[in-house]
Amino acid sequence: MTNYDLVIIGGGPAGLSAAKIAAEAGVKSIIIERDYHLGGQLVKQTHMFFGSEKQYAKTRGIDIAKILVNNVMDYPDSIEVMTNTTVVGLYDDMVLTLLQNESYSKIKAKSIIIATGASEKFLAFENNDLPGIYGAGAVQTLMNVHGVLPGENVVMVGSGNIGLIVSYQLMQAGVNVKAVLEASPTIGGYKVHASKLKRLGVDILTSTSIKKAIGKDKLEKIIISKLDNDWNYIEKTETEIETDVLCISVGLSPQSRLLGMIEAKMKYVPTLGGLVAVINKHHETSIKNIFVAGDVCGVEEASSAIVEGCFTGLIVSERLGHKHQNHDKLYNDFKSQLQNLRSGPFGKKTRTGLEELRRDEFVK
C-alpha cells in the first residue's frame, strides 16, 4: 500500500487549487480524478467569470481550467495525478480504495481533501425521464466540450445563473431557445445574463413551470402552467410548446456521499444545496485530518471553490509540518476573498447557510 501525505479527491477548481498551494509549501500530494481529464466543470464554461482578478475574473472558464491545470503541471515532482480513477472506499483509518480500469488498489493518506463538487438536481413531473430531457450542465458538456448540438429547440427550466448562461450559450451554438421557465415570481440569476437573453428575444416566463412532458421514446412537446404564490399549478393556464430538448436547471446538490463512509458529522442545509459536512473554520470535518473544499461543502460558484481549495491547501500544509512561507498573509487574503465573494444580495444564500452550520459550534 502506497502512503501519501495528502490525497485530494477531485481534480476540479477546488482540488487543483489545493494541490498547487500545498506544492508551494513543499507538500507532496496525489489528485484522484474520476473523469478522463482534469478541470472539473470549468472545461465547459465558455463565459467570462465575475469576482475579482484574484479569481481570474474576466477570464473564460475554459481558460481558467487551463491555468489551474498548468499550475499543477508546474510541480511534476510534488503532485501526482490519477485520472479515470474513482474513490470507491474511504475509511476512518485514512485508507482509500481506488478503482481504475477495473482494478482495485488501496492507498493510505496522512490527510485528505474531499473536493468532489456537486451534481445537478432533478425535477418531478410527468414523463420526466424521456430522452431529450437533460440537465443544463449536461447540455453544456455536449455542446461546449464535444461540439454536438443537443437538438433544434430548447426550453429551459430555471432562471438561475446556470439556466440563463446555458440558454445564452445554446443560442451562440445555433440552437433556438423557445423560453426560460421560472417558478418564482422573479428571475433567479444576475440581471446582466437575463438582459442578454431578452435582447435576443427569449421570453423568461416567471411564475411558470413544466407540468408534463409528452413523447414516445423521445421528447416531442411539453405542457407548461402558471403557478400561484405557493407554487401550485393554476388551472386552465396550461400551454403546449413543441420542443425536442428540455433543460433542467434547478440547482445543484453537494456530492457528499463519500463522507457517509467515514461517518463524518453531516447536516442538511438547504441553502448550501443539501447534505454537507459539519466543519470547523479550517474546513476540517469531524474526522481529524479529513477536510472538504468547494461545492461539496456548499454549492457556490467556481470562484469560491478556487479560493476554498487554496485556503484548505494552506491549512493542510501547516498540519503536515510544511507551513507555507507566506502562510499568515495568504490566510488573511483567502479569508477576505471568500468574504468578498459572499457579500451582496447574491451571496445571501451562502451566508445564511453558513450561519446554520455555525449553530453547531463549528465555524466555516
Binding site: A138, V148, D217, K218
Partner: protein, 102 residues
C-alpha cells in the same frame, strides 16, 4: 449534428472512429464520448428503466446519474457519457440490469 461555427470555440475536424451501434456500423470522431457520438447520429435512447423498460437518454453527462448505461464490448453498465469512443467498439442498448459474470 455537430457545431460548425461558434463565436468562442473552435471545433476542428477530427479523425473518424468506426464503431457498431446495435450491430450496425456507424461513425463518430476522435474526442467523442460514446454518448456524444450517438447523440450526433440522432440516437437519444441509450438505455431503459429496469422495471418498466421506459426509454432513457443521458441526464448529467458527467458520470453521476447512470441514465446512459449501455453494453460496451459485451460489458454492461458502462457510463457512455464519460467513456471515450474507440475504434471498433461494440455499443449496444441495455435492456436489463446486466450480468456481472457471464
Amino acid at each position: 449534428m455537430r457545431i460548425k461555427d461558434h463565436p468562442i470555440l473552435e471545433f476542428k475536424d477530427q479523425k473518424p472512429l468506426h464503431f457498431t451501434y446495435n450491430d450496425t456500423l456507424v461513425e463518430g470522431q476522435f474526442g467523442d464520448t460514446i454518448a456524444s457520438a450517438l447523440h450526433n447520429l440522432g440516437i437519444r435512447k441509450l438505455s431503459h428503466s429496469i422495471k418498466d423498460k421506459r426509454a432513457r437518454g443521458f441526464y448529467c453527462a458527467i458520470g453521476n446519474c447512470a441514465s446512459c448505461n449501455m453494453v460496451v464490448n459485451g460489458k454492461p453498465n458502462v457510463r457512455t457519457c464519460v467513456t471515450l469512443l474507440e475504434e471498433g467498439m461494440s455499443v449496444k442498448t441495455q435492456v436489463n440490469k446486466g450480468v456481472l459474470y457471464d
